[in-house]
């Protein structure tokens, strides 16, 4: 197995708040990893570090064999590790299609026609091909998140990062987005998903990484994590979430 993401003893503070306190884990190519943990334990921060939206204080993060400190072209790098956000973050001044093509054209220098073909293909994957000229603020939350997923897929990234993709959604829209994410799990891409949807994690993950207070305290298969958690913290966490 080859490792695509390695965290080595990563530390991070915001002022006096210690957020990551020696995070260690490895993720292999094609793996689907769910990053779990209670609120504030540092999941988002870890994920954002992979995309370089946050900077570590110490330790090392190695992506595809290369330390993030050695990355020269940060923009090209970011396009290869694209991210989906809790709040969708669609570009409000652009329509659905342009949301998906803008980075292709500006960052990856792909011409308009080709970029639009790529984008439409990906919009089809998420079932949004009939909305290509809609402005983002006319869409429902679930639709927005599906467009955000298409925007990410259009970059053809090696690593897909999801930060609580369904937490800002109305309950009835959660499934449409989870189903889209599920459909991506067959594409043999590396996916790191922060989620509070335990049933979803149980179903799609190859591995669970459980964080607590800025550290990884469980790192195992979903079967093991959900049926036989080792730490008290994980037991308490699971007791508080509804799983069936």
């Amino acid at each position: 197995m080859n490792k695509v993401i390695e965290f080595k003893n990563v530390y991070k503070s915001f002022g006096s708040l210690k957020v990551l306190q020696g995070v260690d884990f490895e993720i292999n190519k094609g793996e689907i990893v769910c990053l779990l943990g209670s609120s504030g334990c540092g999941k988002s921060t870890s994920l954002r570090m992979i995309n370089l939206l946050e900077q570590k204080d110490s330790g090392d993060i190695i992506v595809e064999g290369k330390s993030v400190d050695e990355i020269k072209d940060i923009n090209q790098y970011r396009a290869k590790v694209a991210m989906v956000f809790q709040q969708f973050n669609l570009f409000k001044n652009l329509d659905v299609l342009s949301n998906c093509t803008i980075a292709l054209r500006k960052a990856l220098k792909i011409n308009k026609k080709e970029a639009e073909e790529i984008a439409i293909n990906n919009l089809k994957k998420v079932g949004m091909e009939n909305f290509i000229h809609a402005k983002s603020d006319t869409l429902s939350g679930g639709q927005k998140q599906r467009v955000a997923i298409a925007r990410m897929l259009s970059l053809n990234p090696d690593i897909l990062l999801f930060d609580e993709p369904t937490s800002a959604l109305d309950p009835e829209m959660v499934n449409e987005v989870l189903n889209v994410i599920k459909s991506l799990t067959h594409e043999n891409r590396t996916m790191v998903i922060v989620t509070h949807e335990m049933n979803f994690a149980k179903e799609v993950a190859n591995r669970i990484i459980f964080m607590d207070q800025g550290k990884v305290i469980e790192n195992c298969s979903p079967e093991e994590f959900f049926t036989n958690p080792k730490t008290e913290r994980a037991k308490a966490f699971l007791a508080n979430s509804n799983i069936h």
Partner: protein, 254 residues
């Protein structure tokens, strides 16, 4: 009645110089606002950029220096009367640029407006949620690309009322540029009043003209604003309820 008759006769006698004054006032204020807008985009944009952590130290220092100069520029031009700015720049730089009063006046008006615009643009930029900027950066757009493709279009739209307001202010405030003997509306008024000794009537006419010009300007600006926002809001369906819910929650976990 007598008053109105007098006014009409003043207009009849002086309509040519009044029209000339209106033309100069309009040219100055429209161009001044446009140039000021460009300056504002530039200065406000640069001031709003946050350099990436991995940029080299010299760039960060340079950025800090530029920010400082930008702040100084804004403070000086917003904090002193434009009349003094006009006098000062015209006479002190005359030997250097060899410029006419009109060019000097337009320059001062543009640079002065630019100072206000910079702050307008900057607050327009700050009103855009950080999430969109992060999303743009996360898919590989550079700082500059994010500015031009995502941030500026929205910032200008959000700030449009304040941007338009600068035009209205400039139509009136360009009157102080008469200190450079520019033949704009106020200058013409002063010389008309100086020859007919009808101060009240003459200035009353000019006030009406200013009111008319600013009225037309705000009408046109309103239309433009409606056009710009209308193209954005062609709500078809479902969004509203859910949207309200998310907004009510504050949507600010990150």
């Amino acid at each position: 009645m007598e008053f109105i008759k007098l006014c009409i006769s003043i207009v009849k006698k002086n309509y040519l110089s009044i029209l000339l004054g209106i033309r100069t006032t309009l040219v100055l204020s429209i161009l001044g606002t446009l140039f000021g807008f460009v300056i504002g985009l530039f200065v406000g944009g640069i001031r709003a950029i946050k350099l990436d952590f991995n940029e080299p130290l010299y760039k960060k220092r340079l950025k800090r220096l530029i920010d400082y100069i930008g702040k100084l520029y804004i403070d000086i031009f917003r904090g002193t009367p434009m009349m003094i700015q006009a006098l000062f720049f015209y006479y002190s730089l005359r030997s250097l640029f060899n410029w006419t009063p009109l060019v000097a006046a337009l320059t001062v008006l543009s640079v002065n407006t630019g100072a206000y615009m910079s702050e307008i643009i900057r607050s327009g930029i700050n009103s855009i949620d950080k999430g969109q900027i992060e999303a743009a950066r996360s898919c590989g757009l550079s700082n500059i690309q994010t500015m031009f493709n995502i941030v500026f279009p929205q910032a200008v739209l959000n700030a449009f009322p304040s941007i338009g307001n600068e035009l209205i202010v400039n139509i009136k405030d360009s009157s102080v540029l008469m200190v450079l003997s520019i033949t704009e509306l106020m200058f013409e008024t002063k010389s008309i009043a100086g020859s007919n000794y009808r101060l009240v009537e003459t200035y009353f006419i000019t006030a009406l003209i200013y009111l008319f010009l600013t009225g037309v300007a705000s009408y046109v600006l309103n239309i433009i604003e409606k056009r710009m926002t209308h193209s954005k809001t062609s709500l078809p369906q479902s969004a509203t309820n859910f949207e309200n819910l998310v907004l009510a929650k504050g949507g600010s976990d990150e």
